[in-house]
Symmetry: C2
Subunit: 403 residues, 2 copies
């Protein structure tokens, strides 16, 4: 039976388990590489399988605009369209319409405010904020591709996600801005609640079979404890799976939010931290009971020359466990990115060659670098799972992040 | 023993054989995909091997500028630097200093004059011709990367090619422009002859071991029979391997040039048609006794959306045996690029998905499209080799090009 979530091991609040889906089992905790436009950038399905990736996340917003949900549905869903037969999660589209609209206006998109790291900034090609119109019905937004107007509603988001045929889907949600007042955030949560119920209604209307997707509700509330707790209660009361959205602030803020939410929701439901997945966040999130993460960090970092390295060769939270391939030190380096890494890239190519490919703007760089970064995070999460099974998680976390 | 070339089958002037090198045997006729900067664009070594590629060509000009021949030598040569343990050919650099210099000034670079196909134009990012200074010593040119001045001489070209550790190398040559008079072309040939002898001298000085590379001389002479014959005689008298350079004009012109040259040079020496490799040219060249080709066509076409298709689904010389993935017809197509193709891309992905990746500017498009195009040409040349062995070449050629 699909959507059976089982916790097999716990250690404190951390837990290791498995989620069954129509496209196979996902071991938890797990990390979803992001395949925004129906491809994890620079990696094909066979590379993803070779790495050991068990699930990917695709973006509803991008796919509804291009190539369109109707087209993908005609191909039998996204799995067949992109030739990936393992689990897929889609998001609600809510974050994208927010980040391309009000977040721009407020200069407060989640990523912008979380990190000063230029590499992680969301790029807005046109440079101008596009104001979205939010009503109780839904969000009217302009396509980032051609400026055409679109309306996204809870019903539409759920419809599209079922057309895409995702295994894990997310209820349509409103996003608060960090510049909003407490009262504005409360209004936003009330909207997310209404939209959540409408999402459930549409889900029940469309999904009957044993292969129906698992529907996540989204907990919002910014950095306000009372709002997060309220939103978590509502989500737990109404959904079989819990996701946490609208996260901004530093690593400590992130931990506080997770604690508030996991303190409220039922232990037996899977929990997903939306859009988060740097190494430090993985450890912190898992420690506090998170089961799933998705993040563009490994793929985007790779494209920008930022490659993950292990503790042994200087990876630490201060450098985000990454080194810069552009660095002059790498020009003549016969070492792999990481001598401890067993990925195809590290087993076959030197830093000097990768740096050359990067500087020469060669496509092969992206393939090899992305392969390494996704492999690194996938293996790290595997290691974390093992540590929970072996009651070693705390020790492993200390090794990586210090006491 | 390296560099043993053996013709095993002939049919008319066409021949099938094998060339032994220090990095393995190349079956002939063969096609070298081009790996300009030490990588065949968008394909790693394991994809190349899976396809069945037996040899690649790298560009001396590009590698001397970046990352530099000294660096690659320190890594044990280009094979080790790029992790490709099969044969590598390097060119002399002569064509690049020409095409980025006088050819621009004359609007007569080989590729520009051969085809009106925009896709095959050589792109000059700065848009301004850079005049090279040609003296008997060599060519002074400006780097296309940073404008720095460099001098390339026969001695330097050979030195660099041995530093790169290529299995097949080419004597430094001057390139005539199609706008040159007969007399100017004669002067150019005389320079190529002098440079050829100096290349041989440097080669003998540097290469002693049994693993020494095979040195090709280059036949020039534009579209003048007397000059081509003279240059062919000189090359045959002085070199163990013959390459034909400076080719422009249409397919018929190409055939005439090849006939003039192969009519003069020794049958037992390998013959390489530099920078040529469209489907029609492969058939024509092989029919007239050419053993080796290199060309950016499969890789560049792929990047531009032009994908090879077989006869059965409409491939013909008029469309260069290619279709345009951008075409609206492909938007909803569940077909592979070519139903007869057994490549990884065709076995796993639809035209609709590839078109989506192309339109969405996804890196995976380049990997999959390039894989297909290089596979297509590699298998076509395999088929041609078989046809020569089975005395079927003429029939195969007629099937592709008509009578």
């Amino acid at each position: 039976m699909a959507n059976k979530f089982k916790i097999l091991h716990t250690g404190g609040r951390a837990r290791a388990g498995r989620l069954e889906t129509a496209h196979g089992v996902i071991e938890t905790p797990n990390f979803n590489p992001v395949g925004t436009q129906g491809t994890v950038k620079a990696l094909g399905p066979r590379e993803l399988k070779e790495i050991g990736v068990q699930i990917i996340l695709a973006n509803t917003y991008h796919l509804m605009l291009r190539p369109g949900a109707d087209l993908i549905e005609k191909f039998g869903g996204l799995h067949k369209f992109m030739n990936w037969d393992k689990p897929i999660m889609t998001d609600s589209g809510g974050f994208q319409v927010f980040s391309l609209g009000i977040a721009l206006e407020h200069g407060s998109s989640k990523v912008l405010s979380r990190s000063k790291n230029q590499e992680l900034r969301i790029k807005h090609e046109e440079g101008k904020p596009r104001l979205n119109k939010i009503t109780e019905e839904g969000v009217t937004f302009q396509s980032h591709l051609d400026g055409s107007k679109h309306l996204l509603t809870p019903e539409k988001s759920i419809k599209i996600q079922t057309q895409l045929g995702a295994d894990l889907i997310v209820a349509f949600d409103d996003h608060e801005s960090s510049k909003h007042t407490h009262n504005q955030m409360l209004e936003s949560i009330e909207l997310t609640e209404k939209w959540g119920l409408r999402s459930i209604q549409k889900y029940q209307e469309l999904c009957h079979s044993g292969k129906k997707p698992l529907l996540y509700g989204v907990v919002h509330g910014g950095t306000h404890k009372d709002l997060r707790v309220r939103s978590a209660r509502f989500t737990d009361d109404n959904f079989e799976a819990i996701s946490i959205g609208g996260i901004y602030g530093d690593h400590k803020q992130l931990c506080r939010i997770i604690e508030w939410v996991t303190g409220v929701v039922s232990d037996e439901k899977p929990r997903h931290l939306l859009g988060i997945g740097e190494v430090e966040d993985l450890f912190n999130g898992i420690e506090l009971g998170i089961d799933f993460f998705d993040c563009v960090a490994p793929t985007r970092r790779a494209r920008n020359g930022s490659l993950y390295i292990s503790l042994k060769i200087g990876g630490r939270k201060e450098n985000h466990f990454a080194m810069n391939i552009k660095s002059a030190n790498n020009t003549t380096s016969k070492d792999p990115i990481d001598p401890d890494c067993r990925c195809y890239t590290c087993l076959n190519f030197t830093r000097a060659y990768l740096r050359h490919l990067y500087v020469a703007n060669e496509i092969l760089y992206h393939q090899l670098a992305t392969y390494h970064n996704v492999y690194f995070i996938t293996k790290l999460v595997e290691k974390i799972r093992e540590s929970i099974k072996e009651a070693n998680f705390k020790k492993l976390k200390e090794k990586y992040l210090g006491k």
